[in-house]
Symmetry: C2
């Protein structure tokens, strides 16, 4: 039975980390809300949040038969072994998950640059706060997160091509997506930070060159970045 | 060999979710940075962040022999089976983890009420932004998170005493700590929200009444809440 991904149909958002794993593995999956059109898709997705006995808090969530799993990192924890995107050993799996959770923290902070006060308000209702938070994110947080990923690559006993061991994991795919998102939202600040993290740049390129990822990125399944998503290009927040 | 918890020695913070699990299980553990005094303890803890080959991004981190694990939720994912604080089944484990990750999101948002702009700035440097963010957190987010936990308890086929199945898990302990923290930081708003979530209130009481948790809470191992931690009582942010 195909995996069912339930997520907002018009943004990459957090769902994109799951899409990339499914695409890289060539998995049979349905991006359910997209199939039903924007409005109908959203209604169905939201209805799924009320599904007992284990209601997810928010999209994305994955349905695999009777099992429903929310929280992006938990979805990848579940899918990793099934898609061949994580090592067999428990130590490697927990390390891969730890990296994913840290990338998730970076993603949440990137979101909060345009919504530092409330997700329920428009960006235009929190402009001065967004300007302050984005300045800190550009100056301190982007270099800190990318610098940590560079250190992880540098310290990998199997070499700096991958984050964990000597082969591709879902954490590598998520690094790719984090760099993509940061480079879209904060092109100047991200280019500066990446100047200090050559191994992160190399892994981003390696993932982009994977055949299935390349095919996916060129397809209409890849939703373009836009200003409804997590990573938004507001030039006034870059610099 | 004893587990080593490495965390800030003068706050509950994120480390408290790990401490509660270790205490409930009666596990042999060392709260390393506290043993070395505030200043020496912090130096040692920070030095551990540079430890190759798998450097944690931030405290807390756990050392179990050669294994070092950062990210609170990943630590609990690892400890859960070892401490008997999660069920055997994969479906239950991933659900427990999903709840933990959602509680972690609530904790991060609670932190950002007093630091909506930058963790590197003092609260006093972001007062107007904190007031706005806290208002949204009180009005929308506390009820949403506690309401979701109430729905999870209500929908549990094994009854509403526990979040997962019919016995205590680390997610129950984390619910306790979330409620403790919210009630400390936002006493009025939290009391209002808890008026709508009687099952959350009952589970909070059940955890507090566990013998080992009771002993722990009454001991000097339980650091009092204070205004250096995640949950801070600034009366101007409550209401």
């Amino acid at each position: 039975m195909a995996y069912e991904l339930h997520y907002w149909p018009a943004i990459q958002g957090r769902g994109e980390f799951v899409r990339l794993a499914l695409e890289e593995a060539g998995a049979d999956y349905a991006d359910v809300a997209r199939q039903d059109g924007i409005d109908g898709g959203i209604d169905g997705m939201m209805a799924g949040l009320d599904a007992p006995p284990r209601p997810p808090f928010a999209p994305p969530y994955l349905r695999d038969g009777d099992l429903v799993i929310g929280q992006t990192a938990a979805i990848l924890l579940y899918l990793g072994p099934r898609l061949g995107l994580v090592s067999e050993s428990e130590a490697d799996r927990i390390w891969t998950h730890q990296i994913q959770l840290t990338i998730a923290d970076a993603v949440a902070e990137a979101h909060d640059t345009h919504h530092p006060i409330a997700s329920g308000l428009y960006y235009e209702e929190q402009l001065p706060e967004a300007a302050r938070r984005a300045e800190d994110f550009r100056t301190h947080r982007i270099p800190k997160f990318l610098g940590w990923l560079e250190r992880v690559l540098t310290a990998n006993p199997d070499g700096p091509r991958h984050l964990v061991g000597g082969r591709l994991s879902y954490a590598d795919l998520s690094l790719f997506q984090l760099v993509e998102g940061l480079a879209y939202a904060f092109p100047q600040a991200t280019e500066r930070a990446l100047g200090h993290t050559p191994k992160v740049v190399a892994l981003h390129r390696l993932v982009a060159a994977r055949p299935r990822i390349g095919t996916y990125l060129a397809s209409d399944r890849r939703i373009p970045f836009n200003e409804d998503g997590l990573f938004r290009r507001y030039p006034e927040l870059d610099g």
